[in-house]
């Protein structure tokens, strides 16, 4: 059992506020991904949980025990670092067994645990080597095995895959997901890579400018962004936005077309739609194609809709040339609406 509660955590670096009253509960065995652009505070939050950084204000609880005043070693956590932090003066075996030796675990038990975790990460043949003799991917495996060998309540990972090349990253991602699910450890994983976040997470916390904008399962974050920022950050390419004017009674005019929308008193809203949720239609929105990018599985068309840039992902056999006009319409239940003033989703 390892539930993590973060209560009103604030962090200031001098006059700069890195974290603004973070409230987050991560349930036992959950895989939580903190996702955001660099400088959004995700790593700072992780380091506060680890005890490598001290929160200016607020509390961190693990398993109903307040731990924010404890040193890292007494928190029941293990961490995997971006640059692996494999000790260069120790063999792989001693690296994985380092934490166990610190606990003065008997030799036989250290050996058993090291071997078990090395096997899990497929590095059992490397146990006698030093980190200088390992590739980046192998070092990453050592770092994960070292963290798992501690059998921690919580495993913290700070962009662990970002230094690997693309193919290896894909492979390690799948492996990491399997290993962590089997270990039944609560995991907090920091990344700026939304594909990584989507594929790994039970829940994603999207962070922006020191606060958590939305914390939900990956599909909800993708389908139902609660703020315009999330809609414009998640997805590759992200959501399209078009201004909408109220025609009264929940009817909205968008680029010369009428759409059913939220029944509010607001005069103006923003209409948002994912590029892949557009289909070519006889009497849809009028657009002028600017750039056509065939991507194999589909075609990405960047066009202009009433002066606004708009991207659509269309069927790969669509024949469109730059400069041509086309008409498409959105899949009705995929349309989202945002208040341009508060930037919050309106239903």
């Amino acid at each position: 059992m390892a539930e993590i509660q973060i209560k009103k955590v604030q962090k200031w670096f001098g006059a700069y506020q890195a974290l603004d009253a973070i409230d987050l509960t991560i349930s036992d065995q959950e895989f939580m991904v903190l996702l955001g652009a660099s400088g959004c505070g995700k790593t700072t939050l992780l380091r506060i949980i680890a005890g490598l950084e001290v929160a200016t204000q607020g509390e961190v609880w693990i398993n109903g025990k307040r731990i924010d005043h404890l040193p890292p070693k007494d928190r029941g956590i293990a961490m995997v670092f971006q640059n692996y932090a494999v000790f260069p003066h120790l063999t792989v075996f001693e690296n994985i067994g380092f934490g166990l030796r610190m606990q003065r675990m008997p030799n036989a038990e250290v050996k058993a645990r090291v071997e078990r975790n090395a096997e899990l990460m497929h590095i059992e043949q490397l146990l006698g080597r030093y980190s200088g003799e390992l590739s980046g991917g192998q070092r990453q495996r050592v770092a994960v095995a070292r963290a798992l060998a501690m059998e921690p309540d919580v495993i913290l990972m700070d962009e662990p895959l970002s230094n690997l090349d693309a193919l290896l990253r894909l492979e390690m991602r799948a492996e990491l997901k399997g290993v962590l699910a089997d270990s039944k450890t609560t995991a907090i994983y920091v990344t700026h890579d939304q594909v990584e976040a989507m594929s790994l997470a039970d829940r994603i916390s999207v962070m922006h400018e020191g606060r958590i904008v939305q914390a939900a399962d990956p599909i909800s974050v993708y389908r139902n962004p609660e703020e315009r920022f999330v809609a414009s950050f998640i997805g590759n390419p992200p959501m399209n936005f078009l201004p909408a004017r109220s025609e009264g009674k929940g009817s909205w005019s968008v680029a010369g077309q009428s759409f059913e929308g939220p029944k509010t008193d607001l005069e103006a809203l923003e209409f948002a739609i994912r590029p892949e949720d557009m289909v070519l239609a006889e009497n849809g929105i009028l657009a002028t194609a600017k750039v056509v990018e065939p991507l194999g599985a589909h075609v990405l068309v960047t066009c202009s809709v009433g002066g606004h840039s708009f991207r659509a992902i269309l069927n790969s056999d669509t024949k469109i040339k730059p400069g041509e006009t086309l008409r498409f319409s959105p899949v009705p239940d995929r349309i989202r609406w945002f208040d341009p003033k508060s930037q919050v989703a309106v239903n």
Partner: protein, 277 residues
């Protein structure tokens, strides 16, 4: 395009010759005086004073034997070793923590502090000699090995601080942080992770301190009377000695330092290797 490749071949060859000439010149700068010292120290008094000189030593140990039997020289040698060892220990004991703090902590006046460390070297020792001597006599530190070691430590300390600073900076903080999360306190993380990694560099900077103390003559001559170190002892006694004895004295002074540095040269390279990264 690489600029070296863009040069015409003869310009490149000229650069190559210049490089070789510089290396030869630098080697000669160090080796010729050593060689002359070596030849003359191992020659008889007549050979040293005669002309033309032989390029090869006679292996006449007369001058050296004279020194070996010279009253007080063994005590001076012992004093030198004691003072240099104390200097080595103190400059690392004080310098390494300062280097660690400089590399790991952010504090007010850090840049000024670094500058001040260097500024201590800009203060000429002769200016300090008299007040120091007076103070040492008052506190009873005069003419003691520890007193001289204090002075030598202040001379060696800037190097110790700056060298260890660059050593610590060469070790990623994540290694320490990883150790903390794996059950280490700040102290055990230091002893189990940082220390093994910087030990070669620390050794090198300790040797550096040793050599600084070994070579130092001014403070040694001013602050000691009975317990002279080798440098001060030789300075005092060779001033009026015959030239072949001066050579022998120089030989005695240089050889232990040379042997010492030769024995630990691999650590010295480690120091610069890490410091330059």
């Amino acid at each position: 395009m690489n600029t070296v490749e863009a040069l015409p071949p003869n310009a490149r060859r000229a650069g190559h010759y210049l490089y070789i000439a510089t290396v030869v010149l630098l080697c000669a700068w160090v080796l010729v005086p050593l060689y002359l010292l070596f030849v003359n120290a191992l020659s008889s008094a007549e050979a040293v004073n005669s002309f033309p000189k032989s390029a090869f030593p006679e292996f006449d140990l007369g001058s050296l034997k004279f020194f070996a039997g010279f009253y007080g020289i063994l005590d001076a040698l012992k004093n030198s070793i004691i003072v240099a060892t104390l200097t080595m220990i103190m400059s690392i004991a004080i310098g390494a923590p300062a280097g660690y703090a400089l590399s790991r902590f952010e504090f007010r006046g850090k840049a000024t502090f670094r500058l001040l460390i260097l500024m201590t070297r800009a203060f000429p020792l002769p200016l300090l000699a008299l007040p120091l001597a007076v103070m040492f006599i008052r506190t009873g530190l005069d003419d003691t090995a520890i007193g001289l070691a204090f002075v030598h430590t202040t001379l060696a300390l800037p190097f110790a601080v700056l060298i260890t600073f660059s050593l610590f900076s060469g070790i990623p903080i994540e290694l320490e942080e990883a150790a903390w999360t794996l059950g280490c306190t700040r102290f055990t993380a230091f002893t189990k992770v940082v220390l093994p990694l910087i030990l070669p560099g620390i050794t090198a900077s300790a040797i550096f301190a040793f050599v600084i103390s070994w070579n130092e003559v001014f403070a040694a001559a001013v602050l000691t009377i009975e317990n002279r170190t080798l440098t001060a002892f030789l300075l005092q006694n060779l001033d009026t000695a015959a030239i072949h004895l001066k050579f022998a004295g120089g030989f005695i002074l240089v050889v232990p330092a040379l042997i010492f540095i030769f024995a630990v040269r691999k650590y010295l390279f480690a120091m610069w290797g890490i410091a330059n990264r």
